[in-house]
Symmetry: C2
Subunit: 100 residues, 2 copies
DNA sequence: TTCATATATCGAGATTTATAGATATATTTG
DNA sequence: CAAATATATCTATAAATCTCGATATATGAA
């Protein structure tokens, strides 16, 4: 972690919806319905569910999630036509160790 | 800590200079000269020293520091005509516990 | 291959933030 | 009180971000 990376993470965490997404993804099974195809939450939650819960447009949420993955806050995994997102606890810890 | 407060803190941490200030204030005695009047760093570092080190205008840094205090990242203490800033470790920990 | 669905990217207007200079306020000193 | 210094606030312009609709791409199904 360095100053630039930490600032990129800070930018992602400077918007209420994005912080909310990080909170939701702490407990996917509580905050989201089980996916019709995938029967587990091992790789997180698909973009559509996050988008519907957040109530913003598909393009906006897609951009959010892409940036959150680029800065390391999230991990994205594709299964067929779905992308699943989960928290990247490793980077989150590195960020916290940088800030504290 | 709640979603709104965490987002306010995130906004403060979304700018490289402000993150840098948080880092500098981890070790004031290493990053700043001792103050001519006050002989200790118990209350942190005065605005002028931070402003000079950051290299931005006085008004910009004053606004930064005011906002960082408002969201709880910093504690401000006045001694005569100087304002001293130090990290508010309590809020920082609350923020980290919210994020992690 | 064609269609339907999921996600990503592009382009643009609205909103917010960055940053500075000017000015105001507070405090100490002469 | 007047001058000097430190900090805060106001105002304005430039830059960045927000957010959407439109469009493109990717994948599975028919």
């Amino acid at each position: 972690m360095n100053l630039r990376k930490a600032t990129e993470i800070g930018k992602c965490l400077s918007n209420e919806t994005r912080v909310q997404i990080m909170e939701w993804l702490k407990k996917p099974e509580i905050n989201f319905p089980p996916h019709e195809t995938l029967k587990h939450f091992n790789d997180g939650v698909c973009v559509t569910y996050i988008q519907e819960k957040a109530g913003l447009s598909q393009s906006t949420i897609s951009t959010y999630l892409t940036n959150m993955e680029k800065c390391g806050l999230l991990i994205s995994t594709r299964h067929g036509k779905w992308s699943y997102l989960k928290r990247n606890e490793k980077t989150i810890k590195e960020y916290i160790n940088f800030i504290i």
